[in-house]
Symmetry: C2
Subunit: 416 residues, 2 copies
């Protein structure tokens, strides 16, 4: 049984010159997918009438639902609204609801109501207005010949708000579809090829309605099973069975049975075990702490971090000595161990993670190669250290260091 087919069209010159990364398409695709709507294509075009109309014609031909984002702002380079009005043969009228809302927004923000704000309240008379509680540009829903075309603003949180409040609930009612379910097995420490070889026989015996995908990330590979069937309950048990098989085969490297970031895996462990975590970050500048605190409720187990970017902070707060720094250098096992022990003590936590390294690009005065990172995890009884070397640029070296660091914490606490 085939699903409803959708296409996403993203409009904006900024996408074609690469100034903006398109996060909207991913969000929309994910949420349509959860409903059982298949996104067949995603197309990005510039603020250009001919290109927009061409994309509209092509995507409407192939998909039942077309979602357009962008091009609805109040400035001169945003041309989508009048274009859609013409395309669907309507005329522009002022929406009183939108007008009131825009006026109220401007007043609340102490901003004057400008002529171009009035433009924002104009909508084609042949669409259903989708209220935008987060911003001034309303969404629009067009029905034509059994196809649905939806236009949404490009600002991500405005798009999300209209999708959640207006679009997804209508889709749920309007379209029937098969159940579509996912199961994930998250692994760490081995590559895609290794895993593929190890689970070859399981992969080959998957039935036609269940697919396996490999999603590699930094130090991790996510395996995702996707199943489609009429009966959600039966499909669910079936997927559970395959998920268990994969997890058993890969038990040495499995870190989670659902697609959650590593900081959530850590968070669950710390919350469940009533233990606390503290950090001493040098080269990562606070990045580990930032990720740990992305998890709501992190205050139950995360106490803080000493970001000791300068050597004197390592000394004054973490008990690293001038001698150690002189003899071993700031990027050394001795210093990272002292940082971890210092964090255990000064933050008064059960577990501490410490990291010091040279991310690049310049080698400065240090005695280690650019890309060298030392990490340590400690509890009151023991400390484990590891040296890494990454060959990338500064930002990617930092990303890798943080991923590997969180993985190291996870291995330490789970004794793997």
């Amino acid at each position: 049984m085939s699903n409803i087919a959708a296409s996403i069209i993203t409009i904006g010159d900024e996408l074609l010159i690469g100034q903006t990364i398109d996060t909207n398409s991913a969000w929309i695709a994910q949420h349509l997918n959860e409903l059982g709507i298949d996104v067949l294509r995603r197309v990005a075009v510039g603020d250009d009438k001919v290109a927009i109309v061409k994309a509209l014609n092509e995507e409407i031909a192939n998909a039942t639902i077309v979602i357009i984002t962008g091009g609805l702002g109040p400035t001169a380079d945003d041309i989508t609204k009048p274009l859609l009005c013409e395309y669907f043969g309507g005329k522009m009228v002022v929406s009183e609801q939108v007008l009131e809302h825009v006026k109220a927004m401007m007043m609340k923000r102490n901003r004057p109501f400008l002529e171009r704000n009035l433009k924002q309240a104009e909508v084609p008379d042949i669409c259903t207005v989708l209220f935008n509680k987060m911003g001034s540009a309303p969404g629009m829903w067009f029905d034509k010949n059994g196809k649905v075309v939806i236009a949404l603003p490009g600002v991500p949180f405005e798009m999300v708000s209209i999708m959640e409040d207006e679009v997804l609930p209508r889709f749920r009612k309007q379209f029937f579809s098969d159940a579509l379910l996912h199961r994930s097995v998250i692994t760490a420490g081995e590559g895609e090829s290794f895993i593929a070889e190890k689970i070859k026989d399981i992969e080959e015996s998957l039935p036609a309605h269940i697919r396996l995908a490999y999603l590699p990330g930094a130090g991790m590979v996510k395996l995702r099973l996707t199943g489609r069937a009429a009966n959600a309950e039966v499909l669910g048990s079936e997927l559970d069975k395959w998920q268990r098989q994969l997890a058993e085969r890969l038990s040495e490297i499995v870190i989670a049975m659902e697609d959650i970031p590593l900081e959530h895996v850590l968070g669950r462990w710390f919350a469940a075990n009533g233990k606390t975590l503290g950090l001493a970050e040098s080269c990562t500048g606070g990045y580990v702490g930032h990720l740990i605190t992305q998890v709501a409720g992190a205050s139950d187990y995360f106490k803080g971090s000493i970001v000791c970017y300068a050597e004197e902070i390592k000394q004054s707060l973490l008990g690293v000595t001038a001698d150690m720094l002189a003899q071993e250098g700031a990027v050394s096992e001795t210093v990272v161990v002292e940082m971890a022990r210092g964090a255990l003590k000064v933050l008064d936590v059960d577990y501490a993670f410490a990291i010091t390294g040279l991310l690049g690009p310049a080698a400065t005065a240090d005695r280690v190669e650019v890309g060298t990172i030392w990490m340590a995890v400690a509890d009151k009884d023991s400390v484990k250290t590891k040296k890494f070397w990454f060959p990338y640029d500064r930002a990617r070296n930092k990303d890798m260091a943080v991923s590997m660091g969180m993985l190291m914490i996870w291995k330490f606490i789970s004794r793997k």
Copy 2:
């Protein structure tokens, strides 16, 4: 004079279910653009033969250059390589260079050489192999009827490496084009509509070969001038003139004359003025420090951060008292001022920024509304505080807080 036209095709089911955010397209678009190659469209399709061939046919019809990323990995869901071989009428052969490279990579990583790794060394005999020094899947360059089709792996740093080493230098040689130049004016504190009204007359008098785009971000609006002309030098001076006009008109809100992140704007000021910066972060968990240290050379001015997520860390390290916490609460002006003063002292810096807030979703036991944030910037003589309230979810509230925080530091140091 028209530029060379390009299309980008991104392949992978993970893009259509929204599991992966497409950063590759933005990177490619940006770098083609710098060369003067216009990206007309970006299309994402799944790991599906029919969809890939359809996209290829359509994009080749409209563009001179088609760049494909993804679908080249060693696992069963990657089908692009044999498909392209068939599409261009070639046959698969083993590339000795790639084979040696893959073997060497596996050995260096202490991994066995598997049968599927051998597959990675196979390439169509009718393409130019683009060496991938960062990974095992080579890039491929196909020439056909004056069109160029390039296939690259989907792993971002592998794609970047092949583009930089192999593809962009060849494009530079092979394609002629007009000069294309950009100028930016970065503003903070006013919205798109306000700015558009303020510079209306300038925008209207821009010549046809110069365009103005508005790129709104968190608390900021970037204005980008794009010009095309035969003579790069003349165009450059012309753009400089328009950029100056915009900057003079918007002088109250201009923070930079080039498109760099706020952390770089701050970094330049601190480096140029020989001053140091320290932080005391509660709700942001280290995020401000992470961004500040994204800048190479941050160690010249950034000393560190006390990430005081728990109240006891605010007390033990920053001099916040139990009385203050009991009377005012952790999210209060009194506490944030004490945090900033504490950071000035304990980190021994010229300027300190402090932040404490309630990001949500739960209101916990605090006496402030979810989304409330207090910030302070201090030097030895003065302290400035500000209260914010953000209506979004946890992650976006954090993003907003960090943007507004860096802006607050900038306003304080630049005395605006």
